[in-house]
Protein backbone atom coordinates (compact mmCIF):
# COMPACT_ATOMS: atom_id res chain seq x y z
CA UNK A 1 0.00 0.00 0.00
CA UNK A 2 1.32 3.38 -0.86
CA UNK A 3 1.20 6.02 1.75
CA UNK A 4 0.67 9.64 0.93
CA UNK A 5 4.32 10.46 0.86
CA UNK A 6 5.26 7.85 -1.65
CA UNK A 7 2.30 8.72 -3.83
CA UNK A 8 3.54 12.28 -3.90
CA UNK A 9 6.95 11.02 -4.79
CA UNK A 10 5.50 8.85 -7.48
CA UNK A 11 3.92 11.90 -9.04
CA UNK A 12 7.13 13.77 -8.62
CA UNK A 13 9.16 11.16 -10.46
CA UNK A 14 6.85 11.48 -13.42
CA UNK A 15 4.54 8.64 -12.58
CA UNK A 16 7.16 6.09 -13.51
CA UNK A 17 6.78 4.17 -10.34
CA UNK A 18 3.05 3.82 -10.28
CA UNK A 19 2.02 0.24 -10.40
CA UNK A 20 5.26 -1.01 -8.94
CA UNK A 21 5.54 -2.69 -5.62
CA UNK A 22 6.55 -0.23 -2.95
CA UNK A 23 9.45 -2.38 -1.89
CA UNK A 24 10.78 -2.67 -5.40
CA UNK A 25 13.71 -0.31 -5.58
CA UNK A 26 12.85 2.30 -8.15
CA UNK A 27 16.45 2.72 -9.11
CA UNK A 28 16.37 -0.65 -10.78
CA UNK A 29 14.42 0.99 -13.54
CA UNK A 30 17.55 2.96 -14.34
CA UNK A 31 15.82 5.75 -16.21
CA UNK A 32 17.61 9.05 -15.80
CA UNK A 33 15.43 10.76 -13.25
CA UNK A 34 15.05 14.49 -13.59
CA UNK A 35 13.50 14.61 -10.15
CA UNK A 36 16.60 13.09 -8.63
CA UNK A 37 19.32 14.66 -10.75
CA UNK A 38 17.67 18.06 -10.87
CA UNK A 39 16.93 18.17 -7.15
CA UNK A 40 18.67 21.01 -5.38
CA UNK A 41 18.91 19.31 -2.02
CA UNK A 42 20.18 15.93 -1.08
CA UNK A 43 17.00 15.20 0.84
CA UNK A 44 14.80 15.74 -2.18
CA UNK A 45 17.16 13.80 -4.44
CA UNK A 46 17.21 10.87 -2.06
CA UNK A 47 13.47 11.15 -1.59
CA UNK A 48 13.03 10.75 -5.30
CA UNK A 49 15.08 7.58 -5.34
CA UNK A 50 14.54 5.76 -2.08
CA UNK A 51 11.56 4.65 -0.08
CA UNK A 52 13.19 5.40 3.20
CA UNK A 53 16.25 7.36 4.19
CA UNK A 54 19.27 5.14 3.62
CA UNK A 55 20.74 3.68 6.78
CA UNK A 56 24.40 4.14 7.56
CA UNK A 57 26.17 0.84 7.19
CA UNK A 58 29.65 -0.47 7.77
CA UNK A 59 29.14 -2.74 4.80
CA UNK A 60 29.42 0.20 2.46
CA UNK A 61 32.94 1.45 1.86
CA UNK A 62 33.44 4.91 0.43
CA UNK A 63 36.93 5.87 -0.60
CA UNK A 64 37.39 9.59 -1.00
CA UNK A 65 40.23 11.97 -0.15
CA UNK A 66 40.23 14.01 3.08
CA UNK A 67 41.29 17.06 1.14
CA UNK A 68 40.58 17.16 -2.58
CA UNK A 69 43.57 18.21 -4.63
CA UNK A 70 41.17 19.94 -6.97
CA UNK A 71 37.41 20.10 -6.53
CA UNK A 72 36.94 19.78 -10.29
CA UNK A 73 38.19 16.20 -10.31
CA UNK A 74 37.75 14.19 -7.15
CA UNK A 75 38.35 10.45 -7.44
CA UNK A 76 35.74 8.40 -5.58
CA UNK A 77 35.36 4.65 -5.12
CA UNK A 78 32.45 2.80 -3.60
CA UNK A 79 32.21 -0.84 -2.78
CA UNK A 80 30.00 -2.98 -0.65
CA UNK A 81 30.12 -6.40 0.89
CA UNK A 82 26.31 -6.64 0.89
CA UNK A 83 24.79 -9.26 -1.35
CA UNK A 84 22.33 -8.53 -4.11
CA UNK A 85 23.37 -4.93 -4.71
CA UNK A 86 21.29 -3.43 -7.50
CA UNK A 87 22.53 0.12 -7.56
CA UNK A 88 25.10 2.53 -6.20
CA UNK A 89 24.59 6.29 -6.10
CA UNK A 90 26.88 9.12 -5.06
CA UNK A 91 25.67 12.38 -3.54
CA UNK A 92 27.56 15.60 -2.83
CA UNK A 93 25.44 17.40 -0.26
CA UNK A 94 26.66 20.93 -0.92
CA UNK A 95 26.63 20.85 -4.71
CA UNK A 96 23.93 22.79 -6.58
CA UNK A 97 22.51 19.44 -7.67
CA UNK A 98 23.72 16.89 -5.13
CA UNK A 99 23.19 13.66 -7.06
CA UNK A 100 26.43 13.05 -8.94
CA UNK A 101 26.14 9.56 -10.35
CA UNK A 102 23.96 6.55 -10.20
CA UNK A 103 25.16 3.12 -11.25
CA UNK A 104 22.86 0.23 -11.98
CA UNK A 105 24.54 -3.00 -10.96
CA UNK A 106 23.09 -5.95 -12.86
CA UNK A 107 23.66 -9.43 -11.54
CA UNK A 108 27.17 -10.49 -12.40
CA UNK A 109 28.65 -7.05 -11.90
CA UNK A 110 30.54 -6.45 -8.67
CA UNK A 111 29.41 -3.84 -6.18
CA UNK A 112 32.59 -1.89 -6.71
CA UNK A 113 32.68 1.24 -8.84
CA UNK A 114 34.99 4.21 -9.24
CA UNK A 115 34.33 7.57 -10.78
CA UNK A 116 35.40 11.20 -10.67
CA UNK A 117 33.14 13.87 -9.36
CA UNK A 118 33.03 17.62 -9.26
CA UNK A 119 32.71 19.45 -5.96
CA UNK A 120 31.99 23.16 -5.63
CA UNK A 121 33.02 23.34 -1.99
CA UNK A 122 33.73 21.31 1.10
CA UNK A 123 30.94 18.84 1.55
CA UNK A 124 29.84 15.50 2.82
CA UNK A 125 29.97 12.88 0.12
CA UNK A 126 27.52 10.04 0.56
CA UNK A 127 27.42 6.72 -1.21
CA UNK A 128 24.15 4.84 -1.17
CA UNK A 129 23.97 1.16 -1.99
CA UNK A 130 20.60 -0.41 -2.72
CA UNK A 131 19.74 -4.05 -2.22
CA UNK A 132 16.47 -5.92 -2.05
CA UNK A 133 16.34 -5.25 1.67
CA UNK A 134 16.77 -1.50 1.51
CA UNK A 135 19.29 1.29 1.06
CA UNK A 136 22.52 1.64 2.96
CA UNK A 137 24.98 4.45 3.04
CA UNK A 138 28.43 5.65 3.98
CA UNK A 139 29.49 9.29 4.22
CA UNK A 140 32.68 11.19 4.42
CA UNK A 141 33.57 14.83 4.48
CA UNK A 142 35.82 15.93 1.65
CA UNK A 143 37.46 19.31 2.02
CA UNK A 144 37.76 21.48 -1.05
CA UNK A 145 40.24 24.30 -0.78
CA UNK A 146 41.04 27.25 -2.94
CA UNK A 147 44.69 27.03 -3.74
CA UNK A 148 47.15 29.88 -3.88
CA UNK A 149 48.67 28.81 -7.18
CA UNK A 150 45.99 29.72 -9.68
CA UNK A 151 48.14 30.54 -12.74
CA UNK B 1 59.53 70.98 6.73
CA UNK B 2 58.46 67.62 8.03
CA UNK B 3 57.45 66.66 4.54
CA UNK B 4 60.81 67.40 3.07
CA UNK B 5 62.55 65.36 5.69
CA UNK B 6 60.29 62.42 5.14
CA UNK B 7 60.82 62.64 1.41
CA UNK B 8 64.55 62.38 1.88
CA UNK B 9 64.07 59.65 4.43
CA UNK B 10 61.89 57.62 2.17
CA UNK B 11 64.27 57.98 -0.71
CA UNK B 12 66.97 56.58 1.51
CA UNK B 13 64.75 53.63 2.07
CA UNK B 14 66.40 51.00 -0.02
CA UNK B 15 64.97 48.44 2.25
CA UNK B 16 65.96 45.01 3.37
CA UNK B 17 69.08 43.27 2.27
CA UNK B 18 71.93 41.86 4.20
CA UNK B 19 72.99 44.96 6.03
CA UNK B 20 69.65 46.72 6.46
CA UNK B 21 70.06 50.32 7.49
CA UNK B 22 68.59 50.69 10.98
CA UNK B 23 66.63 53.72 9.76
CA UNK B 24 64.90 51.55 7.21
CA UNK B 25 63.98 49.10 9.90
CA UNK B 26 62.55 51.89 12.00
CA UNK B 27 60.69 53.35 9.05
CA UNK B 28 59.25 50.00 7.96
CA UNK B 29 58.22 49.15 11.48
CA UNK B 30 56.49 52.49 12.03
CA UNK B 31 54.85 52.32 8.63
CA UNK B 32 53.63 48.80 9.26
CA UNK B 33 52.24 49.70 12.67
CA UNK B 34 50.72 53.10 12.02
CA UNK B 35 50.30 53.47 8.26
CA UNK B 36 50.91 56.74 6.53
CA UNK B 37 50.79 60.19 8.07
CA UNK B 38 52.38 59.12 11.32
CA UNK B 39 55.41 60.86 12.71
CA UNK B 40 58.14 59.17 14.64
CA UNK B 41 61.46 60.02 16.18
CA UNK B 42 64.66 58.39 15.09
CA UNK B 43 68.09 59.49 16.33
CA UNK B 44 66.58 62.63 17.77
CA UNK B 45 64.91 63.70 14.51
CA UNK B 46 61.26 63.58 13.58
CA UNK B 47 60.18 61.77 10.44
CA UNK B 48 56.91 60.98 8.72
CA UNK B 49 55.90 57.49 7.64
CA UNK B 50 54.86 58.73 4.20
CA UNK B 51 56.24 57.40 0.95
CA UNK B 52 57.41 60.10 -1.45
CA UNK B 53 54.53 59.25 -3.78
CA UNK B 54 52.09 59.92 -0.99
CA UNK B 55 53.74 63.23 -0.36
CA UNK B 56 53.29 64.08 -4.02
CA UNK B 57 49.65 63.01 -3.91
CA UNK B 58 49.08 65.36 -1.00
CA UNK B 59 49.62 68.35 -3.29
CA UNK B 60 46.60 70.40 -4.28
CA UNK B 61 44.11 68.27 -6.13
CA UNK B 62 43.70 69.83 -9.55
CA UNK B 63 43.90 68.86 -13.19
CA UNK B 64 47.49 69.99 -13.62
CA UNK B 65 48.85 68.10 -10.64
CA UNK B 66 46.82 65.00 -11.38
CA UNK B 67 47.93 64.98 -15.02
CA UNK B 68 51.57 65.42 -14.03
CA UNK B 69 51.40 62.70 -11.43
CA UNK B 70 49.79 60.26 -13.84
CA UNK B 71 52.45 61.01 -16.43
CA UNK B 72 55.18 60.43 -13.85
CA UNK B 73 53.58 57.16 -12.78
CA UNK B 74 53.32 55.97 -16.37
CA UNK B 75 56.92 56.90 -16.97
CA UNK B 76 58.03 54.94 -13.93
CA UNK B 77 55.96 51.96 -15.04
CA UNK B 78 57.66 52.04 -18.44
CA UNK B 79 61.01 52.01 -16.66
CA UNK B 80 60.18 49.00 -14.55
CA UNK B 81 58.76 47.13 -17.53
CA UNK B 82 61.97 47.81 -19.40
CA UNK B 83 63.86 45.76 -16.81
CA UNK B 84 61.09 43.12 -16.77
CA UNK B 85 60.14 43.66 -13.13
CA UNK B 86 56.64 45.08 -13.39
CA UNK B 87 53.92 44.20 -10.91
CA UNK B 88 50.56 42.96 -12.06
CA UNK B 89 48.28 45.43 -10.37
CA UNK B 90 50.04 48.54 -11.62
CA UNK B 91 48.44 48.61 -15.04
CA UNK B 92 44.97 48.55 -13.54
CA UNK B 93 45.86 51.34 -11.14
CA UNK B 94 47.08 53.50 -14.01
CA UNK B 95 43.92 52.81 -15.92
CA UNK B 96 41.75 53.74 -12.96
CA UNK B 97 43.83 56.85 -12.37
CA UNK B 98 43.24 57.88 -16.00
CA UNK B 99 39.51 57.32 -15.69
CA UNK B 100 39.33 59.27 -12.44
CA UNK B 101 41.21 62.12 -14.08
CA UNK B 102 38.77 62.18 -16.99
CA UNK B 103 35.90 62.19 -14.56
CA UNK B 104 37.40 65.17 -12.78
CA UNK B 105 38.06 63.25 -9.57
CA UNK B 106 41.51 64.69 -9.16
CA UNK B 107 42.27 63.51 -5.65
CA UNK B 108 41.26 59.93 -6.48
CA UNK B 109 43.34 60.05 -9.59
CA UNK B 110 46.36 61.36 -7.71
CA UNK B 111 46.06 58.70 -5.04
CA UNK B 112 45.89 55.96 -7.66
CA UNK B 113 48.81 57.39 -9.62
CA UNK B 114 50.81 57.58 -6.43
CA UNK B 115 50.10 53.95 -5.68
CA UNK B 116 51.04 52.94 -9.21
CA UNK B 117 54.23 54.90 -9.03
CA UNK B 118 55.10 53.33 -5.70
CA UNK B 119 54.66 49.87 -7.21
CA UNK B 120 56.95 50.68 -10.08
CA UNK B 121 59.55 52.28 -7.87
CA UNK B 122 59.57 49.23 -5.60
CA UNK B 123 59.82 47.01 -8.66
CA UNK B 124 62.93 48.91 -9.63
CA UNK B 125 64.32 48.61 -6.11
CA UNK B 126 63.61 44.89 -6.33
CA UNK B 127 65.44 44.72 -9.62
CA UNK B 128 68.49 46.55 -8.29
CA UNK B 129 68.59 44.43 -5.22
CA UNK B 130 68.16 41.18 -7.09
CA UNK B 131 71.22 41.89 -9.19
CA UNK B 132 73.34 41.73 -6.09
CA UNK B 133 71.51 39.33 -3.88
CA UNK B 134 69.99 36.49 -5.89
CA UNK B 135 73.06 34.36 -5.42
CA UNK B 136 72.43 34.29 -1.67
CA UNK B 137 69.41 32.07 -2.20
CA UNK B 138 71.29 29.29 -3.95
CA UNK B 139 71.69 26.24 -1.75
CA UNK B 140 75.34 25.43 -1.22
Amino acid sequence: MMNRRSVLKAVFTGGLVTGMGVLMPRIAMAAWSKAAFGAESQEIAMGALYEANPQASADVTLKAPDIAENGAVVPISVKSSLSGVTSIAIFVANNPQPLASQFTIPEGTLANVSCRIRMGKTSDVTAVVTTASGSFSASKEVKVTIGGCGG
Amino acid sequence: MKKTISLVAALMMVSGGVAAHPFNDAFNEQRAMYGKGHSFTWNGQTYLTDHPEEVAAAAEANATNATALLAAAKDQYAQVLAVDFGWTLTKGLLKSAGKALEAGKFQDSMNLSAQAQYHSRMGLVQYEQSQAEWIMAVPQ
Binding site: V92, P96, T104, L110 | -
Partner: protein, 104 residues
Protein backbone atom coordinates in the same frame (compact mmCIF):
# COMPACT_ATOMS: atom_id res chain seq x y z
CA UNK C 1 37.11 5.31 -38.96
CA UNK C 2 37.04 8.30 -36.73
CA UNK C 3 37.24 7.50 -33.08
CA UNK C 4 34.36 8.34 -30.84
CA UNK C 5 34.45 10.15 -27.55
CA UNK C 6 34.89 7.05 -25.41
CA UNK C 7 38.11 5.35 -24.49
CA UNK C 8 37.99 2.05 -22.70
CA UNK C 9 40.50 -0.23 -21.09
CA UNK C 10 39.00 -3.61 -20.39
CA UNK C 11 41.10 -6.43 -19.02
CA UNK C 12 40.06 -10.01 -18.38
CA UNK C 13 41.68 -11.33 -15.23
CA UNK C 14 40.89 -14.29 -13.05
CA UNK C 15 37.44 -14.85 -14.48
CA UNK C 16 36.48 -11.21 -14.12
CA UNK C 17 36.75 -8.29 -16.45
CA UNK C 18 37.86 -4.90 -15.15
CA UNK C 19 36.49 -2.08 -17.28
CA UNK C 20 37.67 1.52 -17.16
CA UNK C 21 35.99 4.05 -19.39
CA UNK C 22 36.65 7.71 -19.92
CA UNK C 23 34.68 10.01 -22.17
CA UNK C 24 36.03 13.14 -23.79
CA UNK C 25 33.34 15.57 -22.76
CA UNK C 26 33.21 18.98 -21.11
CA UNK C 27 30.11 18.03 -19.06
CA UNK C 28 28.74 21.56 -19.13
CA UNK C 29 26.47 21.76 -16.09
CA UNK C 30 24.34 24.72 -17.03
CA UNK C 31 25.47 26.39 -13.80
CA UNK C 32 28.47 28.10 -15.32
CA UNK C 33 28.44 31.56 -16.82
CA UNK C 34 30.52 32.78 -19.70
CA UNK C 35 32.49 36.02 -19.76
CA UNK C 36 29.48 38.14 -20.66
CA UNK C 37 27.54 36.71 -17.72
CA UNK C 38 25.25 34.54 -19.84
CA UNK C 39 24.65 31.05 -18.55
CA UNK C 40 26.37 28.41 -20.65
CA UNK C 41 23.64 25.92 -21.61
CA UNK C 42 23.86 22.49 -20.05
CA UNK C 43 25.36 19.82 -22.27
CA UNK C 44 26.41 16.65 -20.58
CA UNK C 45 26.29 12.91 -20.86
CA UNK C 46 23.28 11.61 -19.03
CA UNK C 47 23.63 7.90 -19.43
CA UNK C 48 26.34 5.49 -20.35
CA UNK C 49 25.60 1.81 -20.64
CA UNK C 50 27.88 -1.11 -21.30
CA UNK C 51 26.73 -4.33 -22.89
CA UNK C 52 28.72 -7.55 -23.07
CA UNK C 53 27.39 -10.33 -25.32
CA UNK C 54 23.90 -8.94 -25.26
CA UNK C 55 23.86 -8.55 -21.49
CA UNK C 56 23.88 -5.21 -19.75
CA UNK C 57 26.86 -5.15 -17.40
CA UNK C 58 26.69 -1.52 -16.27
CA UNK C 59 24.45 1.41 -16.67
CA UNK C 60 25.45 4.75 -15.29
CA UNK C 61 23.34 7.88 -14.96
CA UNK C 62 25.25 11.09 -14.49
CA UNK C 63 24.39 14.46 -13.08
CA UNK C 64 26.03 17.85 -12.99
CA UNK C 65 28.44 16.74 -10.27
CA UNK C 66 30.24 14.36 -12.59
CA UNK C 67 33.63 15.72 -13.57
CA UNK C 68 34.70 16.89 -16.98
CA UNK C 69 35.94 13.92 -19.02
CA UNK C 70 33.79 11.56 -16.95
CA UNK C 71 35.39 8.38 -15.84
CA UNK C 72 34.08 5.15 -14.42
CA UNK C 73 35.53 1.83 -13.50
CA UNK C 74 33.76 -1.39 -12.62
CA UNK C 75 34.22 -5.14 -12.68
CA UNK C 76 31.93 -7.83 -14.01
CA UNK C 77 32.10 -11.57 -13.79
CA UNK C 78 32.99 -13.31 -17.02
CA UNK C 79 34.29 -11.84 -20.23
CA UNK C 80 37.23 -13.12 -22.18
CA UNK C 81 40.04 -11.62 -24.15
CA UNK C 82 38.78 -10.55 -27.56
CA UNK C 83 35.15 -10.11 -26.49
CA UNK C 84 33.51 -6.93 -27.59
CA UNK C 85 31.88 -4.37 -25.33
CA UNK C 86 29.18 -2.08 -26.69
CA UNK C 87 29.10 1.25 -24.97
CA UNK C 88 26.22 3.59 -25.57
CA UNK C 89 26.17 7.18 -24.37
CA UNK C 90 23.32 9.65 -24.45
CA UNK C 91 23.58 13.37 -23.96
CA UNK C 92 20.94 15.54 -22.36
CA UNK C 93 20.63 17.14 -25.80
CA UNK C 94 19.45 13.82 -27.17
CA UNK C 95 22.59 12.93 -29.13
CA UNK C 96 23.58 9.36 -28.69
CA UNK C 97 26.08 6.91 -30.11
CA UNK C 98 27.32 3.41 -29.56
CA UNK C 99 31.03 2.70 -29.56
CA UNK C 100 32.86 -0.54 -29.09
CA UNK C 101 35.97 -1.76 -27.36
CA UNK C 102 37.67 -5.12 -27.12
CA UNK C 103 38.57 -6.87 -23.90
CA UNK C 104 42.30 -7.38 -23.61
Amino acid sequence: MAKGILRAKAKAKGGNTVVKIMAKHAMETGNRKDKSGEKIPAKYIQTLSVVHKGKMVMESNMGSATSKNPYMAFTFVGGAKGDELQMTWTENTGSTATETAKIK
